[in-house]
Symmetry: C2
Subunit: 234 residues, 2 copies
């Protein structure tokens, strides 16, 4: 991929282009750091070390860790599939968006709790994602005051499901307590058997739960539930 | 709350009972540490310091951080409301369970990515929660091989929604990019206005999105969707 123009980068004779520091390079290094060491591994000092530059060189491009997070958010959100919202029926567009959104974040799970609460201000690609989705909802006849709530509800399901992709295969192993939990133990075994029939067990279980929940959400949302029709109990 | 009996605790004359180290006390200290410093703050050394005991004293009760996480999981899952599954109609029982589950984890958000993938083996209270839920699903006529997928789908929505409770009120502020994102900007403003009418804006927005998604999930799941009826696109 070509390095984008960056006014802080001044190319010097004799330096190979790949050595140039730019936002693309910083983004990739930040994602790699999180992949290797979790979110706690993402510090400005560690990022500079990984890029093999002085911290001052890094600060020529990003003012703070907050700036790095914005780059990462932009990169991940730019990979989410929204093209269907301009052309396809609403359930198809939501389905393609939701699967791609889940898959992007399943590969970067430590960032989920961070991105889920990160403001989208000053994040043009992220905002274009939301604009495309909102336009698709409006085109499908959604009342304007319910669109963001519906998107947030879907995103909550997507983020939680992206976490579930990382669950170990034995997460529901009841072990020595199987006799005290007969219904759950039986249901867990039936689930594993059903997923086994379909190929890779671990991933297949997550995919089945995601498909079930997403189709239920789509059906329920399509039925045009008014928000607040059932409030919080108690 | 009374400290439970613990064979590793030997009461000595002259020591007040509240100074005794036990699993309840360790659990409360662990939750407090996470609240104050995030998940990264939860280390055995920090826990010993907070409890004002030598690390060796702590290791008399828990062998590892994994043990501490199990205590925390047990404590949080024990607070989730499951009594409705024995008596109430399925949607009412799920509704009460889901709201209490979300509220418990919203107050301990840094633990969400950890607990979401933590095995339930050797966690009797957690397993009793799943047993109660599974029994309720079976009683409502759910096929045994779909119950765990449905629970996981609901939990994914619950965990993601618990994260959303912590989102800042301005998370969708489009700022200087408002003109380029007219549909989304208008929908965000309409959402804020609708939530404002109902009292506290930030919390009200999260609650509305949760209510909308939960009611849609309940309606869709009630309609008895078969999993895999729509697979992953592409």
């Amino acid at each position: 991929m070509a390095e984008p123009q960056d006014r802080a980068v001044r190319r010097r004779a004799g330096r190979p282009p790949r050595a140039l520091l730019g936002t693309d390079k910083i983004t990739r290094a930040a994602l790699k750091l999180v992949e290797l060491e979790g979110y706690r591994g993402l510090t400005m000092a560690a990022l500079a070390r990984r890029l093999n530059v002085a911290p001052s060189a890094l600060y020529n491009h990003v003012r703070s860790k907050q700036d790095v997070l914005l780059l990462v958010e932009e990169d991940l959100m730019g990979r989410v599939e929204v093209s269907g919202f301009a052309t396809d029926p609403w359930p198809d567009a939501v389905r393609a968006w939701a699967w791609s959104y889940r898959n992007v974040f399943a590969r970067h799970a430590p960032l989920i709790p961070v991105i889920a609460v990160l403001p989208v201000t000053d994040a043009p690609r992220t905002l274009m994602m939301y604009e495309a989705v909102t336009t698709g909802f409006a085109r499908a006849g959604w009342p304007e005051d319910q669109i963001v709530d519906a998107i947030v509800a879907l995103e909550s399901f997507i983020f939680g499901s992206a976490l579930d992709v990382g669950a170990p295969a034995d997460i529901f192993d009841t072990g020595t307590l199987a006799a005290q939990t007969p219904s759950f133990t039986a249901a867990v075994r039936r689930r594993a058997a059903a997923a086994q029939d379909n190929g890779a067990p671990g991933a297949a279980e997550s995919d089945r739960a995601f498909a079930l929940g997403l189709e239920a959400l789509l059906a329920g949302l399509s039925a045009g539930l008014a928000p607040g029709s059932a409030g919080a109990p108690g």
